[in-house]
């Protein structure tokens, strides 16, 4: 359903993506792992068209995303940003229901609010946070509001940029389960970035590892441990020694 072919992206002299090839099937949960700063967030932004790749093609259902009608294209996506990216001038519920309050998915305010409160509940937040401003929430709570916003309009394709960083282990477990549910019950296609190996095992159908601007390894999560790839092994086990260079 989503296909990336030779995607390159750099900023100035710095090359971040150097030919990424990756494909994600409909209804599949793909998890992207890789060192900090390897360009995982940049990859998601390229797919969404927030950043323009320098070279390569990105296809959605066989159509180049640059040729797609922008509104219809974006209506299929939900995205949780790494930093939450909540609108700080709007209360929490209006953040979650943003899509439902305007544009083609618009519905009555009361109904939109109800949906927002329900989505907040699914990410473990009570109705009392609905009227707070984002600045009044903790980092982990903001992340979960961002998650609720990403799933509020029940999009077909959802991108999660580090959904569990900053959460306590129990809440992380809840969020992992939620993502799994969204994929299996709603049939959504998910692409998740995470550094948390227990999340990987809980969420992923397939895993792809980004290293040095390319997909170093990709395959079903069950084969991850027996890949025989020294880079992947080092990453999974969090070893300081190995082929991936660390500065100390």
């Amino acid at each position: 359903m989503i296909e990336l072919i030779g995607v390159h992206k750099g900023f100035g002299a710095k090359q971040v993506l150097r030919g990424v090839d990756l494909s994600i099937a409909r209804g599949e949960s793909m998890v992207v792992i890789g060192g900090s700063g390897t360009g995982k967030s940049v990859l998601l932004k390229c797919i969404l068209g927030l950043l323009e790749p320098d070279a390569g093609r990105i296809l959605l259902d066989g159509q180049d995303v640059r040729e797609a009608e922008r509104d219809a294209f974006l209506a299929r996506f939900g995205m949780l940003f790494q930093g939450g990216a909540l609108f700080d001038s709007l209360p929490v519920w209006q953040n979650v229901a943003f899509r439902l309050l305007r544009g083609r998915l618009k519905r009555p305010r009361a109904e939109a609010r109800e949906i927002a409160v329900e989505k907040l509940r699914r990410v473990g937040l009570g109705p009392e946070v609905a009227d707070l401003l984002p600045a009044e929430l903790s980092g982990g709570m903001q992340k979960r509001v961002g998650l609720a916003r990403a799933i509020a309009a029940e999009p077909e394709i959802i991108f999660f940029d580090e959904p569990t960083t900053g959460l306590d282990p129990i809440m992380a477990g809840v969020i992992n389960e939620l993502i799994r549910e969204i994929v299996t019950e709603m049939g959504a296609t998910a692409m998740t970035i995470t550094h948390d190996m227990s999340s990987v095992r809980a969420i992923a159908d397939k895993v792809a590892m980004l290293h040095a601007g390319k997909i170093r390894w990709s395959g079903p999560v069950a084969q991850m441990d027996a890949s025989g790839d020294p880079y992947l092994d080092q990453f999974i086990h969090g070893r300081a020694e190995g082929p991936i260079e660390t500065l100390r």
Partner: protein, 265 residues
């Protein structure tokens, strides 16, 4: 090329580069302005954003506009009286205050106050949204940032700054009136009569037209520089500074241009 020739040409090349850079910037701003204007007229519209912009640009600017105009009108009356006395023309205070305020000082001071108050806050807000990925989030939520952020603010600037200028004009004249009747010995009735008789419809129209132009420039610069913001807190700071500088200079330049168009016949 010989080294001497190169040395000679280097400053010229630098000059050329900065001139080209300036032209490119003017081009970008112009394109941005046209695109933003076109979004004012095409749906979807965001009435809540527009209402918030009206409140912020207009209503909440009233105190600062009023005070600026009041003090300036008062000072103007004193100066004209002192200057006029030298050739026994102190009776012209009401007429010159009226012209000075309505034609020039009212619109310019309101414009500069709006640049200080509104341009800076728009730029800082939008730049922060850019830096914290809120603009990206807007896009992924199928909302055009130009429509949602820029168009309502521009429209508010266009519509409400002329009203602020009208208020500023009235309060500025009132400032002159207070000083003149309070300490310069003018009779209130004839002061008002003189002011009213002297001002023409063209004076008032030019004042409001300047207001619209300055409101447009002030909000446009806030939005444009906010959107262009670099990364981090430093990016926000630079964007804010650049927006106020650009708005102030452009407002004064536009004022010169408009005065030329309206009054230099």
């Amino acid at each position: 090329m010989s080294r001497a020739l190169y040395r000679l040409s280097a400053p010229l090349a630098a000059l050329g580069r900065s001139a080209l850079g300036l032209l490119a910037a003017i081009g970008r701003v112009t394109l941005y302005a046209f695109e933003a204007l076109s979004h004012i007229f095409r749906p979807p519209f965001y009435p809540r954003e527009f209402a918030a912009a009206l409140l912020n640009v207009g209503w909440l600017s009233l105190p600062v506009v009023g005070l600026t105009a009041l003090f300036t009108g008062g000072a103007l009356a004193l100066q004209i009286h002192a200057g006029g006395e030298r050739f026994s023309a102190e009776a012209v205070v009401p007429q010159i205050v009226a012209i000075g305020i309505v034609r020039e000082l009212g619109p310019v001071l309101v414009g500069l106050m709006i640049a200080a108050r509104v341009t800076s806050s728009i730029a800082a807000e939008i730049a922060t949204m850019r830096v914290t990925e809120q603009i990206d989030a807007l896009v992924t939520l199928s909302t055009h940032p130009m429509k949602y952020l820029t168009a309502p603010r521009l429209l508010a600037g266009l519509l409400v700054v002329p009203a602020l200028v009208a208020v500023g004009d009235v309060i500025g004249i009132y400032g002159g009136f207070l000083v003149s009747t309070g300490s310069l010995g003018f009779a209130p009735g004839s002061y008002i009569q003189n002011t009213w008789d002297f001002l023409t419809r063209a004076d008032i129209a030019s004042s409001l037209a300047k207001g619209a132009a300055f409101g447009f420039i002030a909000t446009l610069m806030g939005c444009y520089h906010g959107m262009q913001s670099g990364r981090g807190a430093q990016g926000v700071g630079r964007a804010t500074k650049a927006s106020v500088e650009a708005a102030a200079v452009l407002i004064l330049a536009a004022n010169f241009l408009l005065t030329n168009i309206f009054f230099a016949a």
